[in-house]
Symmetry: C3
Subunit: 150 residues, 3 copies
């Protein structure tokens, strides 16, 4: 009876039930995304593209596109990441999330130099998203609609 | 006592407590959004708009705007969708989420042809978001700040 | 035994375990973001920028950038907001979330008039995001990987 009670008390905070490694990797991804935003801010000055304009210089536009494309992929990354963590595995989601960040860093490094050099990083981050998506489907289907007992 | 214990063990994974149908519909929405991204990629080639540019041809720009507008609405869709699922009803959220995807598909089909033809799909997806928003408010207010017993 | 049973029944809905004030503030943030979208729609008419174009008039472009920049910051805001609420404190996250909305409202009011006037609101919302990010880290690290007892 005592063990049962302590187990119940452990649920007094939702945080005890949530992924740990995926939460850390998600903060890393947000921090990297914030870093990309600072690159755009610097590029506005460096290439003399005055706000509210976000085009007019092709070197600026490549930096701008790195940030914008990363934003465009956020739903495709964050949603499968957390569904995979919740329904399948915290560790698996976190590892694939790290791969996504690595791909995005290569994408930034490449695209900053030339349009074609964005591709290796782009495919790495795409692959990470596809695997997270598959992981989320597997986890949800395995659990089924009646996972919760009452 | 046995029933009580098995119920507690069922909480060992957060996935048992999470929405089921809403999770599936969310993955469908992300898959559709990914499909729109591939339309933009194809349109870059078809209408000869070379990256990093994302404008310069009006036929390209309509496809680009379908994808971008869908991204712009992601917070307005995903946040109420999951708050409605969590605080009110998994099934209701999932059904409205499907309506959103249908609206977005019509929006894509229409906007690809002409600017004015985007409107029917746009209003369907707007209505779905508004209903999800209302559902989330109702669920949160009904539950109140003291839903959790300790 | 009766108390134990009622506590268990309280978990039949995930909503009982979720943040309350943060959920309300999140809906307010989404509502404000939706309001910004309506400002862009009006500005298309007022400044005669015909879709699919989203540039060509500098007064329009400032309104457009308010909305787009708010979208760009959504991952940087929403992710730390909810991780802070889950792992540290619902109230703290909700208060900082309100500060973010205030900053965003000032950003809109300022940027609508002139590019430089966007800055006070911008720094308020940035500070809110940074504090939420720190709060999320503190909460996750304090809890550790073994928060859940089995």
């Amino acid at each position: 009876m005592g063990g049962s009670t302590s187990a119940i008390l452990a649920f007094s905070n939702i945080g005890d039930l949530l992924p740990y490694y995926t939460a850390i990797v998600t903060l890393l991804a947000v921090a990297f995304y914030f870093f990309l935003a600072t690159r755009v801010a610097l590029a506005h000055g460096k290439f003399n593209v005055k706000l509210p304009a976000t085009s007019g210089d092709v070197d600026f536009e490549r930096i701008f596109r790195v940030h914008m494309n990363t934003l465009e992929w956020m739903p495709t990354f964050l949603v499968p990441l957390w569904l995979c963590a919740f329904y399948l595995s915290d560790i698996a989601a976190a590892v694939l999330g790290l791969a996504w960040i690595v791909g995005r860093a290569l994408y930034f490094a490449g695209y900053s130099k030339a349009v074609e050099k964005r591709l290796p990083g782009f495919f790495i981050q795409s692959a990470a998203c596809i695997l997270l998506f598959i992981g989320a489907i597997v986890g949800i289907v395995m659990r089924g609609p009646h996972g919760f007992p009452f």
